[in-house]
Symmetry: C2
DNA sequence: GCGATCTTGTGAACCGGTTTAGTAAACTAG
DNA sequence: CTAGTTTACTAAACCGGTTCACAAGATCGC
């Protein structure tokens, strides 16, 4: 592999000249330009990325830390971030934490130690003070999708409050008065906001007879199964379920179907996320759609376009709008009379 | 940020000593060890990754090049590679090509220029001689999932022949004699092998009345729609469909359902991949399952455990076994009599 | 008592860029 | 004709590690 020195020698100039020419910090007469360009082509010269990074003190890399990669939501998110990173000439370093604080901390150190110029941090569990402290110490880190309390950095979420409210109103408008909210673990801010919004929207619309049951767990298929099983045993049964993630909705539907409970005839179902092929299920599932790709794009902008010197203004919170996609899984409740 | 020099000074030894001690190439008496360790802790020293990489001439990074990240198949694959990479202390650099040769070539250059120590290359379109040439020039690159003709590197595929055969025999054994094969673009090796295996398995089992129709397109929902529409117009209609990817199967099912064609009563359906929640569809879709996570794990092993000096032995091809997951979407054909 | 060997290191080169500070030569203005 | 400016470049330091080649002092065998 040819290096800058080789190019300089072949072009009859010094290293400095070639380097500065390539970086645009030096104007040169045509003849010299041509000599350099000829040398570069002849030697097939490409700058050594490690030398460059050492010298410049940056890595041209964004680290992306997510709980998991394989789920549709995160896969879509990762895809959007990669696209935005590539557009800026950045490499994406991808890390999965499997929702473990240890790993989260490890990857947060990565950026502090220079492995990446910026970090997009997504967690999926209740806030952890140690993680928050590391985030604050890491520099150039943004928190996305799920809040980390105590972290004073730019934050980007979907409008979970609005999303919950849309779902609540939708069910109330269809005539439901007794509904079940299936959420993530109770300590998670996103879930809490969805619940809060749901409750507000539902109660505002359904009036004084409104009744909401609530089951909390993980955002997984299994938790969906468990919730549906508890639903089946409950008496009286709610007439509609708001499952606050795709996985929960799918898991719920799976158990309902096995039990022979017809959706939406016997129970209505509404999901959240809408990144999987919910429209292909039987019935097609009504859901609140998160703008996942926007989330990814915007996250990258926040990392690289924020003013990181001004610690005061950093601690911001941005919400992206969600909308309801109405399909076939919500219908008026059966008359129990 | 403290550097090696600072640590050396604080410990009262030289840079060399600290470096060699940390890399295990120098035995030291307890007293010195303690001085060094104290200094490291006091200064919170962590080696600068860029300096390390420049000096060592490696990047501790694997590049993973895939057509897309957001589809369940690739997302699962990426997840498995990341897990395996992390276990080896490697960082994963993820790149999406969106199936464009330009981008594929660009990322193949990445490894040649030292951005990564190895590259796992996955394409999704017909072989391209220019791409093959770059792969051969890149060094430490393995080709996974879809063949690139002309590339003389380790290759890793699922046993598409066997997978096709399993599907073919399954349909034949259910009594079908006229079936439709929905495949990817005709030039893709993986698809060709699936067809070849399907044909062999089906004909061997179904005997002389066996008849196979074939539709080719992309591995997308849309292609599944198109194939199903053509299926609906065909006369006589095949009694079963083998859709050779999850997307094709889902797309096909979607159109069939809209058209009111009952699966499996009026037509049987069998899929391929089985990484999405095929078991949740109505009906649950029978499919050939690819061992996607094994594919990822093994790909990483091939990159880092192959002997890259011996160009002769490199050009190998490894097949991972697949199996059939029987669910509800295959039934005997209706008697036309 | 003396060379050999072991212990415990070290100085300086090297990886391949970027950048600061500065210079020789040509040109311009008065 | 000369001082001042512009053009066209460069030497050397720097980023922060790794490693080759070598060495001072202690110990050991005979």
């Amino acid at each position: 592999m040819a290096n800058l020195q080789d190019v300089a020698k072949a072009a009859g100039v010094s290293k400095t000249t070639v380097s500065r020419f390539l970086n645009g910090s030096l104007e040169l007469p045509d003849r010299t330009v041509q000599q350099i360009e000829t040398a570069i082509r002849a030697l097939n010269y490409v700058p050594n990325p490690h030398a460059r990074r050492l010298s410049l003190g940056r890595s041209d890399t964004v680290a992306l830390v997510v709980p998991d990669i394989a789920t549709p939501f995160f896969a879509t998110f990762v895809s959007a971030v990669e696209e935005a990173a590539d557009a800026r000439g950045l490499t994406l370093a991808l890390h999965a934490t499997l929702n473990r604080s240890r790993r989260e901390m490890k990857y947060l150190d990565f950026i502090a130690h220079g492995h990446a110029d910026g970090l997009i941090f997504v967690t999926n569990h209740a806030s952890d003070a140690a993680v928050a402290a590391k985030i604050n110490a890491a520099g150039r880190c943004v928190v996305v999708d799920e809040d980390v309390v105590g972290a004073e950095v730019p934050k980007l979420f979907c409008d979970n409050l609005q999303g919950g409210a849309l779902a609540g109103r939708h069910l109330a408008e269809a005539g439901h008065r007794h509904v079940l909210f299936v959420g993530g673990v109770e300590e998670m801010i996103s879930g809490a906001r969805r619940y809060q919004g749901f409750r507000r929207g539902f109660e505002q619309c359904a009036g004084p007879q409104a009744r909401i049951d609530r089951i909390c767990g993980q955002y997984t298929y299994e938790a969906g199964h468990a919730a549906a099983r508890r639903f089946l045993q409950s008496d009286p049964r709610p007439t509609a379920i708001f499952a606050s993630s795709d996985e929960l909705a799918i898991g719920t539907l799976e158990v309902l179907r096995e039990a022979g409970v017809s959706v939406p005839r016997e129970v209505s179902l509404i999901g959240f996320d809408d990144v999987g092929p919910l429209h292909l299920f039987a019935p097609a599932i009504t859901a609140v759609r998160q703008p996942v790709r926007d989330l990814g794009r915007r996250a990258l902008e926040l990392v690289f376009d924020s003013d990181w010197k001004d610690r005061e203004k950093l601690h911001s919170e941005e919400l992206l709008p969600v909308r309801l996609i109405a399909r076939e899984s919500v219908a008026p409740p059966i008359r129990t009379t």
